[in-house]
Structure formats: C-alpha cells, structure tokens
Subunit: 103 residues, 2 copies
C-alpha cells in the first residue's frame, strides 16, 4: 500500500489463546486468513502474537463497511467465530474503525 | 472498557525490529508506554510482537484526534520516533482511525 487508499475500514481483533486446542486453532487461523484474502473488498491483514502471554492482535483492512459485514457473514467464518468464542480464546475483542490518515 | 466509548481514535502502529539495539529499544518502548498512559485523552494501549519474525503491532486508543496530535508532539516521544526510524525499526507504519463499533 504505497499509495494511500484512505478512507477504508480496519477490523482490530485482539485475543488471548486458551491453553488447549492450539493445533486445531492454528489450522483454523491459517484457513481463515486464506479465506479472508479471497473476499471482495479485502485489502490486507497483519497479525502478531506474543508466544509467552498468548496475547495477539490481528488487523484486517477492507475497502468499506459492506465488505466487512459480508465477510463476517461467510458461513465458514461464522463457524470459526463460534469455535473461537467457545474453544480457542480465553478472551477477545473486536473494534471496527475507519482509517483516515496513514504514513 | 466495558461501556462503549465510541467514537474514539485508534493509532495502529506496526513495526519490524532491526537485529541491533534490542535492549535499548526495550527500555525506550517501556518508557513510551508509561509516558503515553499519562497523556490527556489516553484510553488504553495493546501490543503484541512475534519473537521469531520480530514483527509487532501496537494499537493505542485516545479520546480524540487532538489528544493524538498532542501526544505525537511530546518532546520525549519525538526523540523516540526519531530513534525508531533511524535505529530500532527496519520498517514501520502508522494508521490513524476512528473506532465506530466494538464488541
């Protein structure tokens, strides 16, 4: 993204991984990143996780609000969200924001 | 943040640490987090870094754009930004966004 695309939408997802199901989580996480990349309006995604605390941040960028809503409703993604809530994360949060400046 | 404060401002900072100066970086990073927490309008900050790739994401939240601009201009923070650019990071990016939904 050398040319600025502002405004666009950022989905800021933070989570702490539970101790269990880590291998199953990794497979789902990888699959979801691959699937996100194929969605209309998808721009990019960045992720980092601290291996000691298991706390991680992912920020995915989409062209607009409509793209975010469509991605949230994709069947396999909904399944992943359910598993995340029930099994993979001890806590998580989602914030949706409009990027208006970047450098 | 159990009660929603939307809208507020998110500063999404991504960086990859250079191989050198890591101890000096850690001291500066810790100091900057402590200093950010004392700024007017500061809400919270979250950070995660992958120890293998050295890629990290920090998101700091402020009440409004004015608070972000004031924090960016704090003398010691400017010194840190200069050091980051020249010594600590092999690459970095900053995006400023307005959070309008959270759950």
């Amino acid at each position: 993204m050398s040319q600025s695309l502002v405004p666009y939408v950022a989905v800021i997802f933070t989570s702490t991984l539970a101790f269990e199901h880590q291998e199953e989580y990794s497979q789902w996480a990888e699959r979801m990143i691959d699937l996100a990349k194929t969605q209309p309006g998808f721009i990019s995604i960045v992720s980092a996780r601290d291996s000691e605390t298991r706390f991680g941040i992912s920020v995915s960028y989409f062209k607009d609000e409509e793209s975010v809503k469509k991605w949230k409703a994709v069947h396999e993604h909904q399944e992943a969200q359910k598993l995340g809530k029930e099994k993979f994360y001890s806590e998580y949060s989602v914030k949706v924001a409009k990027v208006y400046r970047e450098y």
